[in-house]
């Protein structure tokens, strides 16, 4: 790993390129920083990772040398009919943009050369994605593109396709774009294995070029891009770090004077007025909300308010149809839209023309994401990225402010890359088996070259092979479900069954299908709801669907029964699955900040505190007022309970809020670690508490804290609860807790999908779980007791490492054990502190269930009897 330090001059680059390509490239007066540092290493045949904000010419950096080489070959007459360069990006829309952007220089250079009277073979560019028709694919086979533009899933297909893959064996360059959006999820893990399989296929090593927006730490992302040698050392890579070359103008805004006491209607109104003012100031403004429903709502109200012409406003999110999204993207590129509201779909680099300013409503929950979004504005290196952060509640306000402060200091979040996902591995082993017979050792070597699998245990590798060969089904004599044959004695495996190829080709991918449940009002269909959302609903809950509010009555099979209610507030947040978690690093920064401000206030230095917030966070007066007020109130509350210190990174305060009329004790742990870590801690403590109390423990979790709800009649000593969860036993505790939760039903189904245990498409049909009268719970129950079943282990791993963050949670507990942090338990009180309001009102609910069903039934029956006797009495 080395960082690029050699800065090339424009002349050097032009000399390097083919003369006609240089003719085209010379129209640019100067090089952008990625070009200055990145083109030479690519020309030298080095692997390169380029990180820079949008609009910094990354794509051209990647392609210019490739185009130059291809034209050289074409003019010499040695341009063969095969693929020389592969470009991979996660978005089809981006692929289409890149195609168009490539054709511009290609055509112009071509015309220029033809103008000189030279004849040569055309350089062909082809796009291959899930949308590519069969006839287009046949055409591509006959007339292969020299530059192939594709998605991670389609790459996994073409390296397996018997004829097409032969066209890839001399590929020289592979470009991975938007790598920041791939490495943190299984799609990226899947891609990394595809790349290693491509290495096996290729006769010579090819150059890997990674393009990324703002991300951290670069070393790890580079290793993810290039992979490992067989001796365990990472392959070589040059890192071009131009993340902060674009200037930023970030501002923190509170839309009203008092975020606590302003009614939500007035707050919304203030927000829409504020947004309208920003939109009127600029030519095009991009507004990020965090949810699809939020995006819809904001757009609706902005149109209603009328300051901006409704035609010049638009909304963009992934639940909209493709036609609608394309038309909005088109209008944006033409500059016909002044305000566009989105949830997350416009984060990635698709070309949307010039954005002058970005507004973030609420908190983006991560410094990296915040900067990626803001970076969408000021679409060339000299323009400034303008970002406004407008918060609707106090926690978001502080998060946004701290984000701004950290961003200006150049401090970013640390990403987490999934480790060794076994379902992705299973999918690729099937792909590998389709291509040839493999020796187990050789296949293992290939797999371990990919970053996510560098530490893969041989036992785990074998368990996946065994699963695929049907061994875990071998409860009797029938190996009917084997997809590969496996001979452990001779050490080989290969394909089995005539359906294996269609299974692989039609079920490739990592993005899971969600079971859609249909909402009915009487006989009328209202819309679709996701299974996990419905699982958590109780009769009487009110939620939003497609713009209307409904009360949940009950459900049966895949039908959900609802009735419309007007004017009532939703009791559950919609689109729960959409909410992004606060990153650990930002959380720590928030904790530190809150304490620093409290200290200043306590020492009578309020003026200093105000100035600090105003300067470091670029805050307006209302934002400063709100933050000061929030911290003051919390400080006073704690003082009343006899505490003379405050929340901080070191002080982890635990409240006990007694709700007498519910006969419940709410134990609130103030841990600003982000939801991923808090989910681990909450579950572990709930699990232990459940064993102590003998009842299910309900919990609520959000980014700043988590709550355990315990019936008052139960005695619970908090200290002894804390004692029982240690960094050493945390992982096994939370694994046990997760095995018995409702979450694992769903995650296991996704894992089973990816590992081809449950197929979405089989024998020409789309599978429907509901038609089979089984659901996720039943599927999980079928396998949960099979010892060492790799898919169950992967489901648990995905939950505790990817969805939650057990590794950082372990680190937190170690800090407590080694004295760097401490728990402070407050005495009982019948009110919650202001800092606790967020989690109590909006925290995500879950429970660690009592497992002994007999006991559950008996308890339930006793409760029912008590109720009946209570009614009679």
């Amino acid at each position: 790993m080395e960082y690029a330090t050699r800065r090339a001059t424009r002349e050097e680059i032009l000399r390097l390129l083919d003369e006609d390509v240089a003719w085209w490239f010379s129209r640019f007066d100067s090089l952008t920083p990625p070009q200055e540092y990145g083109i030479l290493p690519i020309a030298e045949g080095r692997n390169v990772l380029i990180t820079a904000p949008t609009g910094s010419g990354k794509t051209l950096t990647a392609f210019i040398y490739i185009i130059s080489e291809l034209f050289k070959l074409a003019k010499e007459g040695s341009l063969d009919d095969r693929v020389y360069a592969i470009y991979v990006s996660p978005l089809r829309a981006l692929n289409n943009d890149i195609y168009k952007n490539l054709m511009v220089p290609l055509n112009e250079i071509k015309e220029h050369i033809r103008g000189k009277g030279l004849e040569f073979k055309d350089i062909r560019v082809g796009v291959r994605t899930g949308d590519t028709t069969q006839s287009e694919r046949s055409r591509m086979l006959r007339n292969p593109p020299h530059i192939l533009i594709t998605t991670p899933e389609s790459l996994a297909l073409v390296i397996t396709a018997p004829k097409f893959r032969l066209l890839l064996n001399k590929v020289r360059w592979v470009i991975i774009d938007e790598i920041h959006s791939l490495c943190e999820n299984k799609r990226g893990s899947h891609l990394s294995l595809s790349l290693e399989r491509l290495v096996e296929l290729a006769e010579k090593e090819f150059v890997r070029i990674g393009l990324s927006a703002t991300i951290n730490p670069l070393d790890e992302v580079a290793k993810f891009l290039v992979g490992y040698n067989d001796d365990g050392t990472p392959r070589d890579c040059v890192i071009v770090d131009t993340r902060f070359h674009k200037k930023m103008d970030l501002r923190l805004r509170a839309p009203v004077e008092d975020l606590i006491y302003t009614s939500s209607d007035r707050l919304s109104e203030a927000l829409y007025h504020y947004l309208s003012r920003v939109i009127s100031k600029y030519r095009t403004t991009l507004i990020f909300t965090n949810t699809r429903s939020g995006a819809e709502r904001v757009t609706y109200h902005l149109k209603k308010l009328g300051f901006i012409d409704a035609d010049e406003l638009g909304v963009h999110h992934s639940s909209l149809s493709r036609e609608i999204r394309f038309s909005i993207e088109d209008k944006l590129k033409k500059g016909e839209v002044r305000g566009i509201v989105t949830s997350t779909s416009l984060e990635l680099g698709i070309d949307i023309g010039y954005i002058d300013a970005v507004v973030q409503v609420g908190s983006p929950k991560s410094i990296n994401r915040g900067l990626q979004r803001i970076g969408r504005s000021g679409h060339s290196m000299d323009r400034v990225s303008k970002g406004y952060f407008v918060a609707l509640d106090l926690d978001d306000l502080i998060e946004d402010g701290v984000l701004i402060k950290e961003a200006y200091k150049g401090r970013l979040d640390t990403i987490s890359i999934p480790k060794g996902p076994l379902d992705v591995l299973a999918q690729h082993i099937v792909g590998m088996a389709l291509v040839k017979k493999w020796s187990i050792d050789e296949a293992f070597k290939v797999v371990r070259r990919a970053y996510p699998f560098r530490d893969l245990d041989e036992e785990k590798f074998l368990s996946v092979l065994r699963y695929l060969s049907g061994k875990y089904y071998n409860l009797e004599k029938y190996r009917v479900y084997g997809k590969i044959w496996l001979d452990e004695e001779t050490g080989y495996f290969g394909r089995r069954g005539r359906y294996l190829r269609p299974i692989y080709f039609q079920n490739i991918g990592t993005i899971p299908d969600e079971v859609a449940m249909i909402a009915y009002h009487g006989r009328r269909r209202i819309g679709y709801l996701e299974e996990p959302f419905v699982e958590n609903l109780d009769p009487g809950d009110i939620f939003v669907l497609g713009g209307g509010t409904y009360r949940f009555l009950g459900c049966s099979g895949n039908k959900v029964f609802v009735e419309p209610v007007k004017g009532l507030r939703p009791t559950v947040p919609s689109w729960i699955s959409e909410m992004l978690p606060l990153t650990f690093d930002l959380g720590e920064a928030v904790a530190g900040f809150r304490y620093d401000i409290w200290r200043l206030l306590r020492d009578g230095r309020e003026d200093e505190a105000r100035k600090y917030i105003e300067k470091e966070m670029r805050a307006n007066k209302w934002a400063v007022d709100n933050i000061i007020r929030y911290i003051k109130i919390q400080g006073e509350f704690l003082e009343k309970l006899g505490l003379d210190t405050f929340h901080s990174r070191e002080n982890l305060i635990i409240e006990q809020y007694i709700v007498y009329n519910e006969r419940m004790r709410y134990i609130i742990f103030h841990t600003v670690f982000g939801r991923r870590v808090n989910n681990v801690l909450a579950r572990a403590y709930a699990y232990v508490a459940r064993d102590i109390t003998g009842t299910s423990i309900r919990m609520q979790v959000d980014d700043n804290s988590f709550v355990l709800m315990i019936p008052l009649r139960v005695e619970l000593d908090i200290q002894s609860l804390l004692e029982k969860v240690k960094s050493k036993n945390l992982r096994s505790l939370v694994s046990e807790a997760v095995k018995n939760s409702q979450l694992i039903w769903r995650i296991f189904r996704h894992v089973a999908n990816r590992a081809f245990m449950i197929l979405s498409h089989y024998k020409g049909r789309k599978t429907s779980l509901t038609r089979q009268q089984i659901n996720s719970e039943i599927i999980y129950n079928a396998v949960r007791d099979i010892p060492g079943f790799p898919l169950v282990e992967e489901a648990i791993r995905e939950i505790i490492e990817d969805k939650m963050d057990v590794i950082r949670a372990e680190a937190v507990l170690r800090d407590v054990e080694e004295g760097r942090r401490r728990w402070i338990v407050l005495r009982e009180y019948d009110l919650p502190s202001p800092f606790a309001h967020g989690v109590l009102l909006r925290g995500m609910q879950d429970a660690v269930l009592m497992e002994d069903r007999v006991k559950v039934l008996q308890n339930l029956y006793n409760r029912i009897r008590e109720r009946i006797e209570g009614i009679r009495a």
């Binding site: 049966s556 009842t695 309900r698 019936p711 197929l759 779980l769 089984i774 069903r853 339930l860 029912i864």
Partner: protein, 247 residues
């Protein structure tokens, strides 16, 4: 044994009814071989369910030691003749049973196509319904006039279950018997034996979800659920209507 009416009992803690006068256990809805059907659809589950269903049958029969066992429909899941591995499961099941010196009767359910051929080999009678004194035992998938039925009607098909919430608000679903009355008849709906098929949670909202044509117009709020954890406990609960009010 939990007494219901005259000679009819629930053979707790098993998901089976019991007729004292003929010393017979009655099971319904085994759905053996469902895994084979699922695999045809691209869902490959290990055979844990068929195994545990068979296991429950054998354990309960060994424990109660009846003279007769009646299977009230849907012994198998709806697979055709070609699913050889599933037929093997059934053959093993019936040969195991026939070694237990029991009288066996199988009532035909809507999934029991082609079963007759196999049952012939073991000399097991295969009927659409069975009437014994005041009791009518049938699967319940076909519509019938109430006049043609005995005083006590025992059906399956529904896979009834009941969802209860504990004090923390967590929901638990239990399979159950349903015991109630309609038009002068007493009705017992048997739970499914195995875990696999979800069946219908009997709720008062959705009459369309009641599978059995017999129950379609019946007001279920007076029916009593008896929740069962097979092999562990059968728990009587208040009538459905009261339950829904209480929880």
């Amino acid at each position: 044994m939990i007494h219901l009416y005259k000679d009819l009992y629930i053979a707790d803690p098993w998901p089976a009814a019991y007729l004292k006068d003929i010393d017979a256990m009655i099971f319904a809805d085994l759905h053996l071989g469902m895994e084979g059907v699922l695999s045809e659809e691209g869902i490959f589950l290990p055979r844990s369910f068929s195994k545990s269903t068979i296991d429950i049958i054998f354990r309960s029969v060994s424990s109660v030691e009846p003279s007769m066992v009646i299977f009230n429909g849907d012994i198998k899941h709806g697979f055709g003749l070609l699913n050889t591995s599933e037929w093997a499961v059934l053959r093993e099941f019936f040969s195991g049973l026939s070694q237990m010196k029991l009288d066996i009767l199988v009532i035909r359910g809507n999934h029991d196509n082609y079963l007759g051929v196999l049952l012939d080999k073991y000399g097991i009678p295969f009927e659409k319904r069975w009437d014994h004194t005041i009791y009518t035992i049938m699967h319940g998938h076909e519509s019938m006039s109430w006049d043609e039925l005995g005083e006590v009607v025992i059906i399956g098909h529904e896979h009834p279950s009941v969802t209860l919430r504990d004090e923390v608000g967590v929901k638990f679903k239990f399979k159950c018997f349903m015991w109630g009355e309609y038009k002068g008849h007493k009705i017992l709906v048997l739970p499914s034996v195995g875990e696999l098929a979800t069946g219908s949670t009997i709720s008062l909202y959705s009459e369309e979800d009641i599978l059995s044509p017999l129950l379609r117009n019946v007001n279920m709020s007076g029916f009593k659920p008896y929740a069962v954890v097979p092999g562990e406990i059968v728990q009587e609960l208040p009538p459905l209507g009261d339950l829904e009010r209480l929880l």
